[in-house]
């Protein structure tokens, strides 16, 4: 069965979608990713959608779902690389992806995830004092 690879890098999981997303593949990714978060105790997920030239409501919902599911599993998600034409279309479609953190590229996305980890550690230290 066709699958989207999930790479582990330290505390983070990296997913780069490089194929045309169809519905079954999207559902499989949701399952695989939540399983991997749980198994690896990952603290962050970086979802690179720079290769997607179409994000319709189904794929948009998948992105929002992944972000929510990861949060429930104590991991932060950042969606990176959305093409400008896709951003325009998504908002017009009525799916502004509120609550989903985004960054312009992989580098900025990784920076954000790392900062989140630092902040969390800081909070924890603060609380233990």
């Amino acid at each position: 069965m066709e699958r989207i690879p999930i790479l582990k890098m330290g505390q983070f999981l990296l997913v780069t979608i490089q194929v045309d997303m169809h519905d079954k593949l999207a559902m499989t990714l949701q399952e695989d990713l939540t399983n991997r978060i749980s198994a690896t105790r990952a603290k962050g997920v970086l979802l690179d959608i720079s290769a997607l030239d179409v994000v319709d409501s189904f794929i948009g919902r998948m992105i929002a779902n992944i972000s929510s599911m990861a949060r429930v599993l104590d991991a932060q998600t950042v969606v990176v690389g959305m093409q400008p034409a896709v951003a325009i279309t998504l908002v017009e479609l009525g799916l502004p992806l509120e609550g989903v953190h985004t960054a312009l590229n992989v580098e900025k996305g990784m920076d954000w995830l790392r900062r989140r980890m630092d902040d969390d550690t800081g909070d924890f230290r603060g609380a233990s004092l």
Binding site: R61, I88, T89
Partner: protein, 115 residues
Amino acid sequence: MRQMVREQAIALGFSLVDQTKLVTAASELGRNILNYGGGGEVQVARLAEGSRIGLKLVFVDQGPGIPDIELALKDGYTTGGGMGLGLGGAKRLSSEFHIESKVGAGTRVTITRWK
């Protein structure tokens, strides 16, 4: 189907944003046909009216039809567990939108995007 719509839009010289809107609208309506209409067909036609160039897509199914079109066009209304953005979203992404539906006979959605 999305690839075909994309190729037609490129051939007509649509901008990248317009291509994306058209393909996304087609994706929404194509999914409706598969999820609710029990399959169907898509017709693509190039339009030229004077100096205007456009692409017309017709989505036809012989499914159960839509009893209340006004309601089906409302964002958030769904009978299939989706987000309920398909019809309304496709309408917003198109220059012209037309829907005909007959309960028990099927649904025909026509969208046009002018360049």
